[in-house]
Structures are given as C-alpha cells and as structure tokens.
C-alpha cells in the first residue's frame, strides 16, 4: 500500500513533464502534420542549456529554466524556417525524413560538443525529502511538478485565450480556410513549431536536474512523446496532458510491479495497443464525416 502511494506520487511528478513533452508534439503533429523527429533532440538541448546556465553562467535553476525555454523557442523557429517552410506541400514522408536528419545532426552535435559523459545539474533545494504520510518526495521534484503545471496552464491560456491561439486552432481545423479568413499560416506554423520545441526544451530542463543530462536522453523521451500523442489523439492538447499522466502511471506500475527493465517498454506497448484497437486515440471525438 505504502509502495503504491509512493508510485502514485512519482506518477504525478513524472506525468507533469511527460504532459509537457506530449503537448508540444501534439501541437506540431496536429497543426502542421509533421512527424517531428527533432522533438527528442530539443528535449536534450533544453537539458544541456540548463546545465550550461547553471554550471557555466552560475544562474540558479529558476533562471535557467527560462533560458532553456527561450533556447528551444529560437531553435524551433530556426528549424521551421530553414527546413520545413521550403518543404510545405511535400508529403509527410519527406518532412519526416528531413526531421530525422535534423534530429541526428542535433543529437550528434550535442554529443560532439559535450562528450558522452553524463552531467549532473546541481539542485538548489535541500537534500532531505519532504515526507507526506508514507510517501517521500524531494523538493526538487515538487518544483518540477509545479513548474510543469504552470507551463501547461500557460500553454492552455495561450491556445484558448489569445488571438495567436485562435489562429492556431483555426489552422488545425483547416489551413486553407484559415488562410482565406486572413490567418497568416506561415507565421502560425513557425509559432507552432517554436512553441512545441520550447515545451520539449522545458521538459528536458525540468527532468535534467532530476536525473542526469546526457546526449542520448532524447531518444526514449521522443518515443514517449509519440506514445502520449497517440494515446491522447492527434492534435488533442487535453488528451496529451492526460496521456502524459497515463504513461507515467503505466511506467511506474510497470517498473514497480513487473520489472524495472521494462519501464521504457510501456510507452511502446501503449502505442501498439492503442493503434490496433482505437487508432483515433482514447480521447478523440468521433471521426468527422466526409
């Protein structure tokens, strides 16, 4: 029982970050119809930016986080403008392959610059964990959850309360019609990709200090993000948020009660199962007619 409570607490902490990852990817996938194989690399970049900000610039974690987010935003915008904008109208396979190429460049670039040795980001929080009943949770992890929830809330507000968000939603529904109604679709695509990338970088910046920072951390994270997107349904932000927590729960329980070696398998099993039995995702509305 105590063990279960601990797993649930861990699920909450992990799920918040997973939700960030998933929301970023579902926006890009849903609005732009691009299978973004740079998402994991941007997660890695976010983690390294945090490491740099803390270790090299001497900033504390609270200031390092905005640095990482800004870095992700700019890098995402750059990728979109240089690589995706010229390919608009190409089939999904072409953009997917280009994104794979860009992902390799980013990941190998990180490895080249920082080397293969994992780095630890020092935490400004006290070592002693907070005891909540039978479960214990470190202050750092609580901060991670709080920051993740704050960022999810901000993303929601941006999508639902701003003009940019309205244009994004219109583009998601139908890019051609949105363009006819005066939405600058090019700008929306750049903004979407930059925002999705910033969320990936934020997730990396938050989980980097919890674990360690290394160049290969993005690979599994990327596939987890895909699992979350598929679980939540394409372009469904709420679905991705819930999907993040479901994946975290499945991993926690899988690792706790089956075998820790299969923790990472949970996401893949979810992808396979969902696509075979409910390809529109768990939270998708009925398919549109016609």
């Amino acid at each position: 029982m105590d063990q279960l409570i601990q797993h649930l607490v861990n699920t909450l902490i992990l799920g918040g970050t997973y939700a960030l990852l998933g929301i970023g990817l579902t926006l890009i996938f849903g609005i732009m119809n691009v299978v973004n194989f740079t998402h994991g690399a941007l997660y890695t970049v976010g983690a390294y930016l945090t490491y740099l900000a803390v270790a090299a610039l001497g900033l504390d974690l609270f200031l390092a986080l905005p640095v990482a987010i800004l870095g992700g935003l700019l890098l995402g915008a750059l990728i979109e403008i240089v690589l995706l904008r010229p390919l608009r109208g190409q089939d999904i396979d072409t953009t997917m392959l280009v994104m794979i190429g860009a992902g390799i460049v980013l990941q190998s670039g990180t490895l080249w610059i920082f080397g293969g040795v994992a780095k630890a980001v020092p935490s400004p929080f006290p070592e002693a964990p907070l005891q909540i009943g039978p479960a214990s949770v470190s202050w750092l992890r609580l901060f991670v959850l709080g920051a993740a929830l704050l960022l999810i809330g901000l993303t929601y507000a941006l999508i639902n309360r701003t003009k940019l968000g309205l244009a994004m939603r219109a583009t998601f529904q139908d890019a051609d019609t949105a363009a006819l109604m005066g939405v600058n679709v090019r700008v929306i695509y750049t903004a979407t990709f930059a925002m999705g990338s910033a969320l990936a970088a934020a997730a990396g910046a938050l989980l980097g200090p919890v674990y360690v920072v290394h160049p290969q951390m993005g690979g599994p994270a990327e596939l987890k993000a895909f699992a979350i997107v598929i679980l939540g349904g394409l372009g469904n932000v709420t679905g991705a948020a819930i999907g993040g927590f479901i994946l975290a729960l499945a991993e926690e329980l899988g690792a706790g009660y089956i075998s820790s070696g299969y923790r990472d398998a949970m996401g893949f099993l979810i992808i396979i199962a969902v696509l075979l039995y409910r390809p529109t995702g768990l939270f998708a509305k009925a398919e549109r007619v016609g």
Partner: protein, 348 residues
C-alpha cells in the same frame, strides 16, 4: 538486346565487387568495412522493398535484422531457459547454416505480423508502430538475460559451415570467405527483388502506391500484396542479421539500435528508393564513408555529416542519386522499372 543492356550495370558492379579483394590484397580493415557494408546494404535492399515500392516506411526495420541475428546465434549456440510454471526450454546447438535458415523464417514471420498491421495503420502511424515493435524487441533482448545474456552479449557464435555432399565442408572463418558469402547472399537478394518488382507483383505494388482505390478496382488485393512485400523484406533483413551474427561472432542488444535503421533509410533514400540499384549504390557510399571519414573526424561528427547529407539530398535530389544521375545521362527521366523499354518487341 535492350534487356541485356539493362542487365549490364548490375553485372559490371557484381564483377567489380567480386574482383575487389584481389585489388585490395589482404587489407583486413578494408575487407571488414566491405563485409559490414555488404550486410547493411542487404538490409537497405530489404527496406527498399517496403519503402521504395509499397511506400510504407518501416522505421523498425532493424527489428527483423536483430531477430535474425539472435535467432541464428541462439540456434547455433543452444540455450537452456526457465519459462516459468516449471517449464524449461532446452536447445542443443545446431549448425550455423540451420540458424541462417531459421533466422530467415523467424524474421519473415514477424514481417507477416507487421504486414497485416500495415493494412490497419498507414503513414505516420505505421512508422510509429514499427519503431515501437523494434524497441520492445530490443528491451526483451536486453532484459531476458537468461536467454540473451542481456548487455553481456552472446559470444563465441560459431562461423557458418557450408557443406556439399561428397565435396567436404568449409567453415567460413576468414574475412575473405565471409566477404564472398555476403556477396553471394546479396546477389541472391538483388535477384529476388528484381524478379518481384519487374513483374506482375511489382505492378501490383506500384499500383497500390500510386492510386490505391484504382488498384483495388482492377482486382489487386492490397492486404495480400503488402503482406507478401513485408514478409520478403523482413526475411531478407533476417538473413542480413544472421550473416552479421556469424561474421562478428558476438552480438548484444545494440544490434537493435535505432540509428542502424536510420543508416539504412539514408542508404535507400540517398541511393534512390524504388530503384534496384539505389540501395546498393547508397549502401556502398554510406557504408564506406566512415572509412574515408575516420581519419579526419570523430564518429559523432560523421553522424552530423550523415544527417546533413540526408537533408541536402531530400532538398536537391529528392528521388535519390541513381535516378538523379540516370536523368542526367538520358534525356528522358529515368523510370523505376523500365517495363516497356525492356522489350521493344512488345506489339504496339
């Protein structure tokens, strides 16, 4: 005559590859690079059957390769595993050549499952399902330590022994022997793909790729066609994996690395997907590029180059090197399978 003309470039390439070790002398480093390149090129040829001819991108293709490697290795090494419920599976070692056959069969069977699947999920979803499949298999190889030794790797995998009744047997231990084995298997695979795509079955695949509804309406069975393509493709990848295991004689779960699939994708896309020569040309270029780049840059820098090359090729030569060059040589754009040109005697 024209048929002969079309057979000429591959035959010339085959002759050149067969003669290459004579020219290289006994440079073990280069020979090793050629063998591994050859094995990966077989993988690329198998991937091309799906990606190039049916249009389905299998980013988990390495699963078939790795399954082939493990099945072959375990068949020839033997194993003794507890299955739970008091059940035990004990297997005495069999000859490596049997392992090769079983690797082809096992990988083909997995290809059957993926092929059936491809009819339910297409496009990006198919890509994600195949990646997930490969990662699950990798995690099993990593965690089922009793069977696979996990990260400690399966070692002392025997070399393949070939025997002809009355003529004795050869155990292929030297690099030179393995080189010719890979070349022989590669040639066989090339032949299988060429036969498949050049005839009725190839037209069915092209029809489905170009206009699926129309293809169905002329009586093409989509499920059957895609499944057969996936089975043949997976079986070939399994053969490549088996060669890999018996050549290196040690395998660990890293054979399932996603980057190897990406490498094969680069070979196919750069060489020219949907062409017979594309994966071979792409395979040779990208397989041997590390040999050229090794003195000048670190492996991670090489991967940066690969990523950039993939991007650049998609931008400037989206159909790949072989069709691109063929288009420059001929006035008319090159075609994937020149059915009509191949026999001018066809009544018009």
């Amino acid at each position: 005559m024209s048929r002969l003309l079309h057979a000429l470039p591959p035959l010339a390439l085959l002759a050149a590859l067969a003669a290459l070790p004579l020219a290289l002398g006994s440079n073990p480093y280069l020979l090793n690079a050629l063998i591994v390149t050859g094995i990966l090129t077989i993988g690329a040829m198998s991937l091309n059957l799906l990606l190039g001819y049916t249009g389905q991108l299998s980013l988990g293709h390495i699963a078939f390769f790795g399954i082939g490697a493990y099945v072959s290795a375990l068949t020839s090494l033997g194993f003794d595993v507890e299955l739970g419920f008091g059940l035990r599976a004990v297997h005495e070692p069999w000859p490596a050549a049997v392992g090769f056959v079983l690797a082809v069969v096992a990988a083909g069977a997995c290809g059957y499952l993926i092929g059936r699947l491809s009819f339910r999920v297409r496009g990006a979803y198919f890509v994600l399902v195949t990646i997930s499949f490969a990662e699950v298999v990798r995690l099993v190889a990593l965690n089922w330590v009793e069977l696979t030794q996990g990260p400690l790797a399966l070692t002392n995998i025997p070399a393949i022994t070939l025997g002809l009744p009355g003529l004795g047997t050869w155990t292929l231990r030297t690099k030179l022997q393995n080189y010719y084995l890979v070349l022989a298997v590669g040639t066989l695979c090339w032949f299988v793909v060429a036969r498949l795509v050049g005839a009725r079955f190839g037209r069915a695949m092209r029809g489905l790729k170009e206009n699926e509804s129309l293809a169905l309406s002329v009586g093409i069975n989509a499920t059957r066609t895609l499944t057969v393509a996936a089975v043949v493709s997976a079986a070939m990848a399994g053969a490549a994996g088996s060669l890999y295991a018996h050549y290196l004689r040690i395998i660990d779960p890293e054979v399932f690395a996603f980057t190897t699939t990406v490498g094969m994708v680069i070979m196919v896309v750069a060489g020219g997907k949907g062409t017979l020569m594309g994966p071979v040309v792409g395979g040779l270029i990208f397989g041997l590029l590390p040999v050229a780049l090794r003195p000048v840059m670190a492996p991670e820098a090489q991967w940066i180059v690969y990523g950039l090359v993939l991007i650049v090729i998609l931008f400037v030569m989206p159909r790949g090197i072989v069709p691109g060059l063929a288009g420059l040589v001929r006035r008319r754009p090159a075609r994937a399978v020149p059915v009509l040109e191949a026999s001018p005697e066809a009544p018009r």
